[in-house]
Amino acid sequence: MTAITCNTRVSAAEIAGALARGETSSVEVTRAHLHNIERHDGAVHAYLHVDAEGALAQAAAADERRANGAPASALDGVPIAVKDVLATSGLPTTCGSKILQGWVPPYDATVVARLKRAGLPILGKTNMDEFAMGSSTEHSAYGPTRNPWDLDRIPGGSGGGSAAAVASFQAPLALGTDTGGSIRQPGAVTGTVGMKPTYGGVSRYGLVAMANSLDQVGPVSRTVLDAALLHEVIGGHDPLDSTSIDQPVGKLADAARRGAEGDLSGVRVGVITELSGEGYQAGVLARFQESLDLLVEAGAEVVEVSCPSFVHALAAYYLVMPAEASSNLAKFDAMRYGLRVLPEGVENPSAEEVMRATRDAGFGDEVKRRIILGTYALSSGYYDAFYGQAQKVRTLIGRDFAAAFETADVLVSPTAPTTAFKLGEKLDDPIAMYLNDLATIPANLAGVPGISIPSGLADEDGLPAGFQVLAPALADDRCYRVGAALEAALERKWGGPLLDKAPGLDPSTGSGQVKLDQRNGDAR
């Protein structure tokens, strides 16, 4: 590999600027990130599959467009990592599960098609909890991803791979998906930015569904502006997704730039009583309070709002999500694609026996737990008491949001109750694991947008904490405006990005260098 001349620590917007000014090339930028992957991903394990060849080919095409004066978009040539739950034509898509080992989709998810159309070279597919079920990426069938801040700690989940890739400069941008916090919580614990757009704001076509009524694709980045720029690329109506909203995506990057100017005069910021007290780590709360003070300094008015139904959000979520998941995951039956396991000691097994053996071998424990939960919740005689009640709670949560947005333009809370915990610490305690998403789940249940931005390091452990900004449906621009204002204020205070405080990754600490194109066993 040629000498790495490109600075991979800058933002996607800065890379795009350098590309536009001809100071670097997409091939150079892409190669630099591939180099970082080679050096660091043995330790971090953010990627399940790296497509060096494909990314470099796309980069070369981007450079040609730039040379011809016809870039495909503002981000043309800026490389990106894609969570492995999104279908990528010709690239393995496993969802972190053994049951999809070897599956290469014949089609692109709409968001992936939009990345390609906008000219973003795809570096590879990122690790995740199996079928996005988890808050630590420990439930990946291909081994956990590690937090670049401390390799003994989790990077959050389910999108720990995307967050860790961005936090360790193995990609300037990534796509994540958020069903109960899978973009925002990893953002919080890795010191990165993660945005869950309004439900229906970004196409889900090609997103392998965990819970269709909650899932949403969104940007993962190191800055608020970068997230907004990426959101503009992937957002907007898609006729292939009936639940996608038929409205233009809006001027999100403009909102971020405006926010960064630092004036929040007249903006009412609501602190949600139910999401800022008990169960939160002291250092997380301290950083939250500091951030609030900075918002006030920027001219915002802080009000306290109560959302009483939020206390039922976690319970409702753990009925709706597994119910939908149990049905979605029924298609993995060894008949058409993916893993096929023949039952041992059975001669001429029937289709049903093959299905059973495959699902037993192909799904991990957490997936099985949720299939069982969901199947139970939908069963005749229990439906009304469980799924039906949960839907009612959703309605109430929606009403709480509506009422709160009467008195506040945005709502805020800590993103996650704690900083990154140690690998294995909560693996045997599902409830403790589920509690990570306490503050992020209400937004999914109501379909409103939410962003997490780094709020600093907790005093007790020196690890990143996150600040969440929620806005009404279709008012994603408010997340970007308030988020960018806070980001600017915090970076002034810190004297630079939070990630500058992260310990450098020493390639020698890794469990070995990554050999590109040979991840995931089955890849190409």
């Binding site: 999104l86 999809l100 989709p105 014949p106 889900r204 009936s242 049905s327 039956d333 058409r336 939908l378």
Partner: protein, 508 residues
């Protein structure tokens, strides 16, 4: 009196069934719509394509793919509902029906559950001039499954060497039309069931929303039947419904009737013997005329329905519904009255035409140029007999209204006579082409060569001097014998009227 079926089921005689029990029917009819694309994706729907060539990520259930509702299918569903006098929901959703089966790509079927698009309707069904009102509970939209082909001697899943699945059918739009329990049909229950399906099929044809071919599975009937003890005369109380069986995929009108009758006799034999009916799905066997047990279907079977989260609700505007109401064909009762008047049929002729399931064929034959009486004659006399001999429905015989009109046109032109026309039908059924081509190939045209005809008449007179003398003496009625002789010599290919004229001329 009890008999035994081919598969060993005890069957009570039909009279004994009726003496002790009242049947209750329930019909579930699946109609495959003829939309150009599938219910939730853009794949084509043509019948008979190479297996697995009309598929995409959505109808194959690939991970990540999503459905989008076919607006044309919704339109067809609403038109069917309106024609069945149903209410049309202002707001309804799709739901997932969850169960595992290899030919179902997602292992759930996207269907409708407690929010069907059409509900609370009715259709009046005529049997032997008597009208039965069949109440429609609902008509809902859903997608078809793939088609399994079990390869091996058994032809069924059990004992198959291997199975193949064709997903071309997966995702084809279906409308499932479900009746409320039909009670009070008594001995006519089998005929009512058949007449309902026949009339529903005619309605679907008139709406133009389906190919409506039972033989190709574009209309499939599931027949539910239960028996309740007969309520004593004079009592107004209705006995509670008995345990039902559901006989699946009854794929011809005749089979609907036979399956109902069979299940009535089978149920009655079990009940009369003190047994109880097992609630189950049964399979109809066209060849042997029996039903056999399928999978057990109890209330415990749990499809875990819930609203399909990938689709938004369907909310047809009232304006649209009214617009669609304006596109409905005439209702069947009015239509019959109008046609009877137009055609000049007697009540009996009309009833026979309807009863034979020939109404639409007669109508189309007349539209193609035949006279009403000629159309009726061919369908009810000639073709109905042939259909009966072949054990198929008239519509499935293989002769089209256009062909029948073509045959009659040849008769009207004097090219053939009725007797030759029957031979033309033989040729049509053998696939020998158009009526004209059959006449040509089989050499059936009437000989119009006066010389040959005259010679044949002379031969007949010479061979039958006694008869000839009678005619000369004025007994014109005797001419029939000579006509017969001439026709025989001409192998039927002569115009009997012209022969008669020639005989009378020569013997004047």
């Amino acid at each position: 009196m009890t008999a035994t079926s081919a598969t060993g089921d005890a069957l009570l005689s039909y009279d004994d069934v009726l003496a002790a029990y009242d049947p209750a029917l329930g019909l579930e009819v699946h109609v495959e719509l003829n939309t150009a694309s599938k219910m939730f994706c853009g794949c084509p729907t043509e019948f008979g394509a190479e297996p697995n060539t009309q598929v995409c990520p959505t109808c194959l259930g690939l991970p990540g793919a999503m459905p989008v509702v076919n607006g044309k299918a919704v339109e067809s569903a609403i038109r069917i509902g309106l024609a069945l006098n149903c209410e049309i929901a202002e707001w309804c959703r799709f739901a997932r029906k969850n169960y595992f089966y290899p030919d179902m790509p997602k292992n759930f079927q996207t269907s409708q559950y407690d929010e069907p698009i059409c509900f609370e309707g009715w259709m009046d069904v005529e049997v032997d001039g008597e009208t039965f009102r069949v109440e429609i509970e609902r008509a809902h939209m859903e997608e078809d499954t793939g088609k399994s082909l079990h390869v091996g001697t058994s032809g069924r899943i059990h004992g198959a060497d291997y199975s193949l699945v064709d997903y071309n059918r997966a995702g084809i739009p279906l409308i499932e039309i479900v009746t409320k329990p039909i009670r009070g049909a008594g001995e006519r229950a089998p005929e009512v069931a058949k007449a309902y399906v026949a009339q529903l099929r005619d309605l679907i044809v008139a709406l133009g929303v389906s190919d409506a071919r039972m033989d190709q599975g574009s209309i499939r009937a599931d027949v539910n039947l239960s028996l309740a003890p007969k309520v004593s005369a004079g009592s107004t109380a209705e006995a509670p419904l008995g345990t039902r069986t559901e006989t699946k995929n009854v794929n011809s009108l005749r089979s609907v009737e036979r399956a109902v009758r069979y299940e009535m006799q089978r149920h009655a034999a079990i009940l009369a013997g003190g047994g109880s009916i097992l609630q189950e799905t049964r399979h109809w066997h066209e060849d042997t005329g029996v039903t056999t047990s399928g999978r057990e279907k109890s209330d415990a079977e749990d499809y875990r329905y819930f609203p399909e989260p990938d689709l938004v609700p369907v909310a047809p505007s009232r304006e649209w519904v009214e617009e669609l109401r304006g596109t409905l064909p005439e209702n069947p009762t009015q239509k019959r009255a109008r046609l009877q008047a137009e055609w000049g049929f007697t009540d009996l002729e009309m009833r026979d035409t309807v009863g034979a399931g020939a109404l639409s064929m007669v109508e189309e034959t007349i539209a193609a140029g035949a006279s009403p009486q000629a159309a009726r004659k061919w369908w009810l006399a000639e073709l109905a007999r042939r259909a009966n001999d072949a054990g198929v429905e008239l519509a499935e015989l293989g002769v089209t209204p256009a062909q029948v009109a073509g045959v009659q046109a040849l008769v009207d032109a004097g090219s053939i006579n009725d007797k030759l026309a029957r031979q033309v039908f033989d040729g049509l059924l053998a696939g020998e082409g158009t009526p004209e081509e059959v006449v040509e190939k089989r050499g059936l045209a009437i000989v119009s060569d006066e010389g040959a005809l005259s010679a044949a008449v002379d031969n007949a007179i010479a061979a039958n001097p006694d008869v000839a003398q009678k005619i000369r003496d004025g007994k014109v009625a005797a001419a029939g014998a000579l006509i017969g002789a001439v026709m025989k010599e001409m192998r039927g290919q002569a115009d009997a009227g012209r022969v008669r004229e020639l005989i009378l001329e020569k013997l004047a």
